[in-house]
């Protein structure tokens, strides 16, 4: 047994290091806990006094220094409708094809998933450039709610594909042979069995996508535009709530408090949407655990 000089150095690290890690870690954790409250508090302090029923229904006046956000809420909603109208069939269809019709490791599947993953990395301002040229100029939509919605659809497509795909992949593996054994066609099996079973995951994906779409600004500046009138058709330009905050903060002197009000409304909407996603996923998770 080799015997060597035993420990002689004073050991500082074990105690001091532990204290430092603990203190710094707690401060860091508190920061992320506190940050959210801090943001909400500031927005509420600045923006809450302006909130009233009239604020939600009224028109924008004096470039946003007065009045309400009625038309903007309608525009935001319409943009969302256009967005979902494109992204749901596209995203769900893509995920279905990937999970039911091609092998996971085939070249085609890899190319498509690779393309979708790359799409997820594209900065939102670039989606704005693309939407402006493709939907606005090439397809002749100009600055319109439709162009904005379709641009957002491209942007949230990866979220929907990913969540739908993982919902389909987490289905029990014996569903498919069971359907085949009953002589069901692929189409029937997908429409009647797989899609209903994967619906919870798809709905969660859609909710997450809505949250993302509501908060997006950069992709909308050059596609759905700045118009603050009540939109009449999908071909009209319409300003979303997020673009309104941007415009007030950057271009309108004295628009600060009204920007805070709009930010507060937007934040509340997004919190609502995200809570719905969380509640849904927990609800479905619990139900899945209960059924044997």
């Amino acid at each position: 047994m080799p015997t060597l000089a035993p420990p002689q150095k004073r050991r500082v690290f074990p105690v001091l290091g532990d204290r430092v890690f603990g203190a710094f870690g707690m401060a860091a954790a508190l920061l992320s806990f506190g940050l959210f409250a801090w943001i909400v508090w500031d927005l509420a302090r600045l923006g809450f006094p302006q909130l009233s029923w009239g604020y939600f229904t009224g028109e924008v006046e004096d470039s946003g220094r007065a009045g309400g956000i009625g038309p903007l809420l309608v525009s935001s909603l319409l943009i969302l409708v256009c967005c979902l109208g494109l992204v749901i069939p596209l995203g769900v269809g893509c995920a279905l094809w990937l999970s039911e019709f091609v092998k996971r490791r085939s070249v085609a599947a890899r190319l498509v998933t690779g393309g979708v993953d790359l799409l997820a990395s594209v900065p939102s301002i670039v989606f704005g450039l693309f939407g402006m040229v493709f939907f606005g100029q090439v397809l002749g939509m100009g600055f319109s709610i439709l162009a904005g919605g379709l641009t957002l659809a491209c942007m949230i497509l990866p979220i929907l594909v990913r969540t739908t795909l993982s919902a389909l992949e987490s289905l029990p593996a014996d569903l498919r042979p069971a359907a085949a054994a009953l002589g069901l066609t692929n189409t029937t099996a997908i429409a009647k069995i797989l899609l209903p079973a994967a619906l919870p995951g798809i709905v969660i994906g859609i909710t997450l996508g809505i949250g993302r779409a509501l908060s997006e600004t950069a992709a909308l500046i050059f596609t759905s535009g700045y118009s603050i009138r009540w939109p009449e058709t999908l071909g009209d330009s319409g300003r979303s709530l997020s673009v309104h905050i941007y415009d007030l903060a950057l271009n309108v002197a004295g628009g600060n408090t009204m920007a805070a009000s709009s930010a507060l409304v937007l934040l509340a909407l997004i919190l609502l949407v995200n809570s719905v996603a969380v509640a849904l996923s927990e609800h479905w998770l619990r139900r899945r655990h209960q059924t044997p």
Binding site: M1, P2, T3, L4, A5, P6, P7, Q8, K9, R10, R11, F13, P14
Partner: protein, 280 residues
């Protein structure tokens, strides 16, 4: 003062008496009395009293689920890592340190009572770092570390195999080499006791033989307690044996004593059947 030298001196002062499972810390390095281990309200080990003699090899055998590993892990408070796990009773080191004491210095305790696990678990860093991290933590001087590392690597017969790639990842070694590295890493801290938790069961037969010979060679240098499923192995290397069995839904010690006697002439009927290979 070298703690292990101190313990050896203590041992000389101890009066020599016969081995057995009575609570008398005669020639024993670890004296366990009335030890029980609970996981929440379920008791995994109940009322075990056992002496683990100094610088000899004590084999702990028994069927799966009889609490051998829980017992072993409580000997250096690794049971602390398991949420809901509670240990009662007394475990005393030779110098009187009470291991189960809530205020015991766990970190220096674990330096004195090392452990080698079933699956080799080198840190996924260089071989050298595997020694530097624990040695520095326990206060060795930087300049002493290379010599220390070489000495223990020679002890486990690994020096010639790895001396030219100490900067390479320990993960790249074979399973048997990794396990010898883990033994060397435990030895490097100059412990008084090393616990082995089925150290060969994850290895192929040849590597298993090498590690077994290595453990055997520790006899006379350090106190060894080894949990093993391999009765033949226990027969080959153990000086003392302890047989665990499930009694009333909890692990209990049913037989202990000199290995030759326990293996040839067990008193407990369950132990006799188990050791003869008829049960368990």
């Amino acid at each position: 003062m070298n703690p292990s030298a101190l313990s050896r001196q203590n041992e000389l002062n101890c009066s020599t008496s016969g081995s057995g499972c009575i609570v008398d810390c005669g020639t024993s390095n670890l004296c366990v009395s009335e030890l029980s281990v609970f996981y929440r309200d379920h008791s995994a080990v109940r009322d075990v009293s056992l002496n683990i003699p100094t610088n000899e090899i004590t084999a702990i055998v028994g069927p799966s689920g009889c609490g051998k590993s829980s017992f072993l892990h409580s000997l250096n408070r690794l049971t602390d890592l398991i949420p809901g796990c509670r240990v009662t009773g007394s475990i005393r080191l030779c110098d009187g340190t009470e291991i189960t004491h809530p205020q015991a210095d766990i970190l220096s305790l674990r330096r004195r009572v090392g452990i080698v696990f079933q699956r080799p678990n080198p840190f996924p860093q260089s071989i050298r770092r595997n020694f530097e991290i624990p040695l520095k933590e326990h206060g060795w001087h930087n300049r002493d570390i290379p010599d220390r590392m070489e000495a223990v690597l020679r002890d486990v017969g690994l020096w010639d195999e790895v001396s030219d790639r100490l900067h390479k990842s320990a993960i790249a070694l074979s399973g048997g080499q990794q396990q010898r590295l883990c033994i060397a890493r435990a030895l490097a801290l100059d412990p008084e006791v090393i616990l082995f938790d089925e150290p060969c069961s994850a290895l192929d037969p040849i590597a298993s033989g090498v590690v077994e010979d290595l453990i055997h060679s520790l006899k006379g240098k350090v106190t060894v307690a080894i949990v093993t499923h391999n009765l033949a192995q226990a027969r080959r290397i153990a000086d003392h044996a302890a047989v665990f069995w499930v009694r009333d839904n909890a692990g209990a010690l049913v037989e202990s004593g000199p290995a030759a006697r326990v293996f040839s002439d067990p008193l407990d009927p369950d132990a006799a059947l188990y050791l003869s290979g008829a049960r368990g």
